[in-house]
């Protein structure tokens, strides 16, 4: 109700405002990523080819329709048979949303959208973006049964001070039991403060589940890129009745090393430490016992959008310790679906 009241207060003003001036007319775009990942979890190898196309369809000066799908399969070794065997290709429409850029402060979104709880699901999930190919253990917390919500969202970012930007998202999701586009009924929000000079963003997420145990969920996130070092530090904490935990991930590019500079500036070392603690309620998507996991990896950026990645990790839990290995090649594609115009 509060969200609706806010919308009714803002939208008439927003409709009266001038369209944002963009210097070039946007065109429809097919982008996304493709990857070929090889995993060894607990000694069991599996091959995981996937394609994730994203279609961006700008409509007029203020609208954007965007949809992302995933096509993937797992090829695993079957005892007693040679080679790798897989099931059918899994197809999933991850999200399909219509965005209306009402004014410099507000964007309205309706449809099926990635739940903005924490930062990983919404901003770091694509294989060409993430530094380590494995998901954080706490990823399922707060994002709904299929990583997305079905409903409406209001979001935006604006400068409140020359040295400080604020970004926010508030949303409401309805219950949907139609697989694979199922979603839970909840309402929530996320807010972040970004200090451009320090390249530091900190923020928090809140969600209230409007079904089942009607519980509250909390989360915090941090992204810091020190200006003097080619270092990214990201981290998240999430807490719910079904479990809680955190991950922290530093990634360092070797561009400051004085030798093999062409190769070193393309090489990135990554580490991630994470812990998960079970909650009073069970969950199908979260570990069933307290778990710790440490991973480190190496990424090599061959070209803009083409990345080779490898990582090794060790998972410790009372259910048994296991090694986690991943090797992969990912590529981000950009295909214009119209005349692109020339550079000035």
């Amino acid at each position: 109700m509060a969200l609706l009241l806010t919308l009714t207060a803002f939208v008439p003003r927003a409709l009266g405002q001038a369209a944002p001036e963009e210097e070039a007319r946007p065109i429809p775009l097919l982008t996304g990523s493709t990857g070929f990942l090889t995993g060894f979890t607990g000694g069991q190898p599996d091959l995981h080819p996937l394609v994730t196309p994203l279609v961006l369809l700008p409509i007029g000066p203020k609208w954007l329709f965007e949809t992302r799908a995933t096509f993937e399969t797992d090829l695993v070794q079957v005892p007693g048979r040679s080679g790798f065997h897989g099931g059918p290709v899994q197809k999933e429409a991850e999200y399909a949303q219509l965005d209306f850029i009402a004014n410099p402060y507000i964007t309205m979104t309706v449809g099926r959208f990635l739940t903005p709880f924490g930062i990983f699901n919404e901003r770091l999930y694509p294989v060409w973006i993430r530094n380590l190919q494995s998901d954080p253990l706490i990823l399922p917390i707060g994002i709904g049964p299929s990583n997305a919500s079905t409903g409406a969202m209001m979001r935006g970012g604006f400068r409140v001070h020359p040295q400080c930007n604020i970004n926010y998202a508030v949303y409401f999701s309805v219950l949907s039991t139609t697989s694979p586009v199922d979603s839970d009924r909840f309402a929530g929000g996320r807010a972040g403060i970004f200090v451009p000079k320090a390249r530091l963003e900190i923020g928090g997420s809140f969600q209230h589940l409007l079904q089942q145990e009607r519980s509250d969920l909390f989360g915090f996130h941090l992204i810091w890129q020190p200006t003097r070092l080619p270092l990214d530090i990201r981290g998240e904490y999430a807490d719910s009745k079904r479990g809680s935990g955190y991950w922290i991930e530093p990634a360092y590019k070797l561009s400051q090393l004085p030798f093999l500079q062409n190769e070193m500036r393309r090489t990135q070392l990554v580490a991630r430490y994470q812990q998960f603690f079970t909650g009073p309620l069970p969950s199908d998507s979260l570990p069933s016992v307290n778990t710790k996991q440490f991973e480190f990896g190496l990424n090599y950026y061959f070209l803009d959008g083409l990345k080779g990645s490898s990582n090794y990790g060790r998972q410790f839990s009372s259910a048994g310790n296991a090694n986690v290995w991943t090797l992969g090649l990912t590529y981000r594609l950009v295909v214009p679906l119209g005349p692109t115009g020339s550079a000035r």
């Binding site: 946007p26 080679g83 973006i129 400068r159 115009g341 020339s342």
Partner: protein
Amino acid sequence: MRKTWILRCCLAAVALLVRSAMAQEQEKVEKSSGTPAVAARATASSPDMHNPALPKPGREAVAEERAARLEGEKRFRTNCGRCHQQPHKFPRRVMATAIRHMRVRAMITDEDMRFILRYMTQ
């Protein structure tokens, strides 16, 4: 047997993608005159900036353009690098779509969007 062929086809497709991407990259390198930083330095040391023969409004326009480019580069590195590796420049209309998407997804401010779009399409 069939799965082995699927696997081989996937590997061949990845190899083709790598090859095509490398060819595109080579083409980009050949076309571009230098990195953004080099371009910024080139603008800073541009003879137009210090040419007394240039009328004052012209000099002011060049200085303004240079300042906008430097600010755009700074905001591009600060905002885009938060989540992913900074991409190369794309054609103007492609960039206009991408920046609108990032405005929604990454919630970059209206002002940042304008600076980055201008910088990325220069």
